[in-house]
Amino acid sequence: MQETRSDNEAGYSAAELKLGQHGVISSIQGGDSLRRRLNALGMVKGAELVVAHAAPMGDPRSYIILGYQVSLRKEEARNILLQVAN
């Protein structure tokens, strides 16, 4: 638990990326089911994603990962934690 919290404080999530911004995944939070689903879609540690489009009112948004496009609601994107860019 301790580690999870420090991750959260240090990093930021895919939901905070702006349109067109890149991010590199550090970990997926939010429970086994969501993590496995996102893992299967290529969202694993070290994978890079870009925000491609936002729906009206900014939610959901679509991301490009591994060369394809996938849409996520903010509530899911918040569980994708990113590495802090150096």
Binding site: E3, S27, I28, D32, S33, L34, R35, R36, R37, L38, N39, A40, L41, G42, V44, K45, G46, A47, A52, H53, A54, A55, P56, M57, D59, P60, S62, L66, G67, Y68, Q69, V70, S71, L72, R73, E75, E76
Partner: protein, 711 residues
């Protein structure tokens, strides 16, 4: 392989949107299912084909991203491969998106099944300047790799040949083990020792390695299968925790990352990607810039919805006129051919009227599904869901629910059917159950009649209020159902937006026909029984004791010299007889018996009978009123005499309560049949009837109470 009878079972496995179903259709020459809708049963998608003296049994499994038993489709896929042991697993891959498609492949490799690979949609990959080193890929994947373009039929022959060669052992299929880092490998080895102690000699190396990995990943399904070995489960749980702590990462995430690493390495060796010489954005990017534009995306979508709606219902009117004329012609023909009597009435008033009244929706369904097929196969449907999700999510619905609900304003039957495009069971069921609340076009005549008769100075407003009410009720019902009735977790909105693709004309047309045939087969049966039943209730008992001797009186009138007055008397007498006939029929008797239930709402037995007939189709309510109020049965909602006839029969409050009730009460027979089919059984169809009746009654009662309080 099943010995001498030369049958080779081939299971098709692949991601959604990889062209798997097109390939399956190409292989089998069948046109069974174009899109991979949920609930497509396995047996239905089995087809035998003959090739080089062998019978290939092609089994099309649902499109899935992985085999981790996270969804029913994934479990179906994994259980099939494990339990049925197909001779060949044909892994269909989107050649343009191997980076993700191969993830499923890594799991298939670990299951140790004999694999053949179809690099499908190779044309798209080629146009993106991507090329492959097939021998290298084939070596690393341990099976034959064939490039295919299913839409154009390229590579199908080579693929069939590779399948047979692999099945008879002419082509080698080799077991491939994915290498993991040494921590994971150690844990796997350790788990295999534990498994070997529990299942001595019953598992080969491949099976035990697979089981070990699944246990380490914490796969609930597999863990529950090893339930009786609590020591094993406990030990594995401990190993998992230790590993997770060491790496500060869940073990299954480590495995997933390692798999993606393996894929990256393999593609670095066997794939060549030249930079696009033009440097242009590709078609999908350009179209998305338009369709998902922050300002124009939504208006464009709404225009498309409008075009779809208008075409479905306005364009549909032309063939509907033909069907109507055809049914009328048939009915006229039969009434000449068959002598008057029971059979005559049953055929013409019961069966032809009922079934004819339903197949009249066929043009709507065909046109609507042509649009849906086009939207779905081009990839636009997911964009529409993307745009509407924020709004629909407020009501616990999926973005894809928007289209069925809009269609519901036209007709609830195609609306219920359109809910198929929603993958999540829970979201789909809720959408199916709330779409009948959308005020369909068949309810409009009832509103026009009542608004005209009781609220002539504000008729338009009243009709508008009905439409608004239908939306509010549907949305509130969606929230209620999601919270209390339809169980199951709401799945996250993780939806792939596939590249835009031009659908083949063939694909769209077959899709359309499939739906049309489906509608006729499955719905017509229920309608047939329903219309016979309603006809019977209206036509029986045959020998009623008339209050007057109509025949004698009519006869006497006809003997008189013809005057306008006499003709008028004949018409009036005939209407009076029709009214009495309806009152004394079983339906009238039921209406009279049930009417105390509706007394608190201020409805009379006439209203009750009209409501009962509305079960067949809501527009019938108007025709029933015409009979009940001694008007010509062919009178429409616009008829001034019908309006004036009913206008004195109830107060404005009661009339409003009736409109509310008519809007919301039980879906019509055709819709009930559609719900039964789409929601998978009578249970939900029955629930829908009870649920809507309860809501209709309660709201009408509230209107009555408020009305009483205000006056």
């Amino acid at each position: 392989m099943s010995g001498n009878n030369k049958i080779i079972t081939v299971a098709l496995v692949g991601n959604p949107n990889c062209g798997k179903t097109t390939l399956s259709n190409k292989l089998t020459g069948s046109r069974d299912s174009v899109a991979n809708y949920p609930r497509v049963t396995l047996t239905k998608n089995e087809h035998d084909i003959h090739y080089r003296g062998w019978t290939l049994r092609i089994v099309d499994l649902p499109g899935i991203y992985s085999l981790t038993s996270q969804s029913p489709e994934e479990r179906i896929g994994r259980d099939y491969i494990q339990n049925m042991q197909p001779d060949i697993v044909l892994n269909v891959l989107d050649a343009g998106n191997l980076d993700r498609n191969l993830f499923l492949t890594t799991q298939l490799l670990e299951m140790g099944c004999p694999l053949v690979f179809a690099m499908n949609m190779i044309d798209e990959a080629r146009s993106k300047q991507i090329s492959f080193d097939l021998p290298a890929l084939s070596f690393m994947l341990g099976g034959a790799v064939v490039e295919t373009d299913a839409a154009r039929g390229e590579g199908i022959e080579a693929l069939l040949s590779a399948i047979v060669d692999t099945a008879i052992g002419k082509k080698k299929s080799r077991l491939v083990n994915l290498p993991y880092d040494h921590h994971l490998e150690q844990a796997v080895a350790c788990a295999q020792c534990r498994i070997a102690a529990l299942h001595p000699d019953s598992m080969d190396e491949q099976q035990s390695r697979w089981l070990a990995i699944k246990l380490l990943e914490g796969d609930e399904d597999i863990l529950s299968r090893e339930n009786d070995h609590s020591a094993l489960i406990e030990a594995m749980e401990k190993d998992r925790q230790i590993l997770a702590r060491q790496h500060s990462e869940e073990v299954d995430a480590m495995f997933a990352a390692a798999r993606y690493g393996f894929i990256r390495g393999m593609l670095a060796e066997a794939r060549q990607m030249l930079p696009d010489p033009t440097g242009h954005k590709d078609l999908t990017q350009r179209l998305d810039a338009l369709f998902l534009h922050p300002l124009f995306g939504l208006p464009i979508f709404l225009v498309m919805m409008w075009v779809m709606f208008e075409s479905t219902f306005s364009l549909g009117e032309i063939p509907m006129g033909w069907i109507d004329a055809g049914v009328g012609w048939l009915s006229d023909l039969l009434s000449v051919l068959i002598p008057a009597g029971m059979l005559h009435d049953l055929l013409i008033d019961g069966i032809i009227a009922g079934v004819g009244g339903t197949i009249i929706f066929l043009p709507n369904i065909v046109i609507l599904f042509m649009f849906l097929a086009f939207f779905s196969e081009t990839g636009y449907l997911t964009r529409a869901a993307f745009l509407m999700d924020r709004l629909m999510h407020i009501f616990g619905l999926h973005g894809k629910a928007f289209i069925p609900l809009v269609i519901g304003f036209g007709c609830n039957v195609p609306a219920v059917m359109a809910a198929r495009t929603i993958e999540s069971d829970k979201a789909r069921l809720i959408t199916i159950l709330v779409s009948p609340f959308m005020s369909c076009s068949a309810r409009l005549p009832v509103f026009i009649l009542f608004a005209g008769a009781f609220f002539s100075d504000m008729a338009g407003t009243m009709v508008f209020i009905m439409y608004m009410l239908s939306i509010v009720v549907a949305m509130v019902a969606a929230i209620f159902l999601g919270k209390f009735v339809v169980t199951g977790v709401s799945e996250p909105f993780v939806m792939e937006l596939p590249p835009y693709r031009m659908p083949t004309l063939k694909g769209v047309i077959y899709h359309m026909w499939e739906k049309a045939a489906n509608f006729l087969q499955k719905v017509a049966g229920v309608i047939l029984i329903g219309s016979i039943l309603i006809w019977f209730l209206q036509a029986f008992p045959q020998n009623v004791e008339w209050d007057k001797d109509y025949d004698a009186q009519l006869m006497a009138l006809e003997m008189q010299v013809q005057t306008p007055y006499r003709d008028r008397q004949i018409v009036l007498l005939a209407r009076e007889r029709a009214q009495e006939r309806m009152r004394k029929s079983y339906l009238g008797q039921i209406g009279t018996a049930v009417s105390p239930v509706f007394a608190p709402l201020g409805f009379t037995w006439k209203d009750t009978v009209a409501i009962l007939t509305g079960f067949v189709a809501k527009e019938v309510v108007v025709a029933s009123y015409a009979v009940l109020y001694n008007q010509d049965e062919a009178d429409t909602e616009e008829s001034a005499s019908l309006r004036s006839a009913i206008s004195g029969s109830m107060s404005q409050v009661t009339a409003f309560a009736f409109m509310v009730f008519a809007l919301l009460y039980a879906p019509c027979l055709a819709t009930i049949a559609a719900i039964r089919r789409e929601a998978g059984g009578w249970r939900w169809a029955g629930f829908s009837v009870v649920f809507s009746l309860t809501i209709a009654y309660s709201l009408a009662f509230v209107v009555t109470l408020l009305g009483a309080a205000m006056t």
